[in-house]
């Protein structure tokens, strides 16, 4: 995909999320919007995956540690062909294969359970070590929120990953400075995050998390570092590209009305 196509796909996924959450009447829209470009670049450009063979042993892996943002991951997976788009309409229902938070057994293509915050980096480290031990030349991508880095186990994993020189582990942090209860900087500040990860001996980059070229370049840089895990701090906006959601934490978990869906459709450039 070209840069322009990736940008359009990110907005297409945003609209999928708004429509899905409106339809099923439950979910977290705001946290999806800040990772739209990250998810798009991974699924449509950078990850070596086979949607027709979801458990292909040599594939790259992805863990959405901030699992409540799974509607946008599901939308990307549906558009990559892991399952029908119609599954999105059964999100969070007994009839569907899409759980409220990612489930590796019920949804083809999900590599780990996630959603209990703080645990993705440790799981990613285990996968990275397991693949390396078996001679698999791949990458493990973990998308973490900034708020969830308040969990201590993130730092247990960060310490151990550096010790094990897990160069195949790449963490992309969605740094939108919002969490369920308010601003990350006010509740218990992670920032400056860069210095923390750097002092844990990770390779660290800071980028605009909505710039698809910047995300691609940062991933390429991270892959080139073989003896250290990588942390890419993606500066993002919660609710990005949907005017009434941007930086409005009321949209952490909320269902858009039909009118709000229409506003989102217009602001995202129509049905695209």
């Amino acid at each position: 995909m070209t840069t322009n196509e990736l940008k359009k796909m990110a907005d297409r996924l945003r609209l999928d999320v708004v429509e899905t959450i409106h339809y099923v009447k439950d979910g977290h829209p705001g946290p999806c919007m800040s990772i739209a470009e990250i998810i798009t670049v991974l699924y449509f450009s950078e990850m070596n995956i086979r949607p027709e063979e979801p458990r292909w042993p040599l594939r790259d892996r992805i863990i959405l540690s901030k699992g409540h943002a799974c509607p946008i991951q599901y939308a990307a997976m549906a558009r990559r062909g892991y399952f029908d788009m119609d599954e999105l309409k059964k999100l969070r229902t007994l009839e569907g294969i899409l759980q409220g938070h990612p489930d590796m057994n019920k949804t083809p293509g999900i590599d780990s359970v996630s959603g209990s915050l703080g645990n993705g980096v440790g799981i990613g480290l285990g996968i990275a070590l397991g693949c390396r031990m078996q001679g698999i030349d791949n990458y493990v991508y973990v998308i973490v929120g900034d708020g969830e880095q308040q969990e201590g186990v993130v730092w247990e994993a960060a310490m151990a990953a550096a010790k094990h020189k897990a160069g195949n582990l790449i963490v992309l942090a969605d740094c939108n400075n919002n969490q369920s209860g308010g601003k990350v900087t006010e509740l218990s500040s992670l920032y400056p995050a860069y210095e923390k990860w750097n002092s844990f001996q990770w390779h660290v980059q800071i980028i605009d998390g909505h710039d698809v070229e910047a995300i691609k370049n940062a991933i390429a840089n991270a892959r080139a570092v073989k003896d250290r895990p990588s942390y890419i701090e993606c500066r993002t906006v919660k609710g990005k590209n949907i005017p009434y959601m941007e930086n409005n934490n009321a949209w952490h978990k909320r269902v858009p009305t039909a009118e709000e869906v229409e506003i989102a459709r217009k602001s995202l450039g129509g049905a695209i």
């Binding site: 359970v113 990613g124 031990m133 186990v153 994993a157």
Partner: protein, 316 residues
């Protein structure tokens, strides 16, 4: 009575199994020395993953390894695993049904003995028994721990093996079989009363059964080495014969083996069952035998419990 280390026995089993199965790895939250795993590290240096004093991350790393097809074994103190990393075991191993094994050290008062409450763990079995999909094995001595560790590694899915301090009384002859999920009758003098026992207090249960016999009460002793899944058929068959029982374990009286026995009894064969364990209190530091005696797990307590079970007139 001879004592032998359940820790060394389990590591011996792990090494033998790892020789045949290259997927087996140990994940260690600084448990190399405590688990007596140095021989494993020397034999398989690349299959021993040290993560530092970080039990939650150890379980997560194990879960990640298991998704790639490895067969990780996490070894730590029973409470640090089942309490500190409780959610990681439940959500990231048990829920997806990953093939991760757990070995908990210092199980029970006996396991932690002089260390005190911070290092004695009598809730582990109850915690894990409440998690769907997790099997729980509580061997009685080193010989059984060796066989149980092997049986655990031959199975697929989450499983917990409870070990002790490394100074466990040897109870069973070397050729004693171990079968996962089965209750074994250790001694059978008669059907007056049943003693269900699990773990490293088995020697006391054997002595109590013999003492009861000397007093004219002929009972049977059942070794409940797998607490989950509980061997319902054997529990019912035994209770149908005796109509009363005492259940003995080095665990809080809530949630452990005796709870499992009572659950089966309530459903299929209600009868009087006296539960002996830690009576819902925190004990203290002490020498192992003194501790067990002080907190209701003496031989005399088991004898008295059996008599109480036989007396249908006992009031609340």
């Amino acid at each position: 009575m001879t004592v032998k280390s359940t820790r060394e026995a389990a590591i011996r089993a792990l090494i033998e199994m790892a020789e045949q199965d290259e997927r087996i790895v140990i994940v260690s939250p600084d448990s190399l020395l405590a688990s007596r795993a140095v021989p494993f590290l020397e034999r398989f240096p690349h299959r021993f993953i040290e993560v530092g004093i970080a039990e939650q991350n150890a379980v997560l790393v194990a879960a990640g390894l298991a998704t790639t097809g490895m067969k990780p074994v996490v070894i730590s103190y029973a409470g640090f695993l089942t309490m500190r990393a409780c959610e990681q075991i439940r959500t990231f191993v048990a829920y997806p049904g990953l093939d991760v094994k757990f070995i908990g050290l210092n199980g029970g008062m006996l396991g932690g003995e002089r260390e005190g409450v911070t290092h004695q763990f009598y809730e582990d079995v109850g915690i894990l028994r409440s998690m769907p999909g997790v099997s729980v094995i509580t061997p009685a001595d080193a010989g059984q721990a060796y066989k149980a560790a092997k049986a655990m590694l031959l199975r697929t899915g989450p499983c917990y093996l409870r070990l002790g301090s490394g100074r466990e009384p040897e109870v069973f002859p070397d050729d004693t079989p171990f079968e996962f999920g089965k209750i074994r009758i250790v001694k059978h003098y008669g059907d007056n009363v049943a003693i269900f026992a699990s773990g490293f207090i088995m020697n006391r249960a054997v002595t109590a059964l013999d003492q009861l016999k000397q007093e004219g009460i002929n009972g049977l002793l059942a070794d409940v080495s797998t607490v989950k899944p509980i061997d319902e058929k054997s529990v019912v068959e035994i209770l149908q014969r005796t109509n009363c029982a005492v259940a003995v374990e080095d665990h809080n009286i809530y949630g452990g083996m005796s709870s499992a026995i009572c659950e089966v009894s309530a459903l299929y064969h209600p009868c009087r069952i006296i539960r002996l364990g830690l009576n819902d209190i925190y004990p203290r530091s002490g020498h192992a035998d003194d501790l067990l005696d002080a907190y209701g797990l003496s031989v005399q307590s088991i004898v008295d419990g059996a008599k109480k079970a036989m007396n249908s007139q006992t009031a609340v």
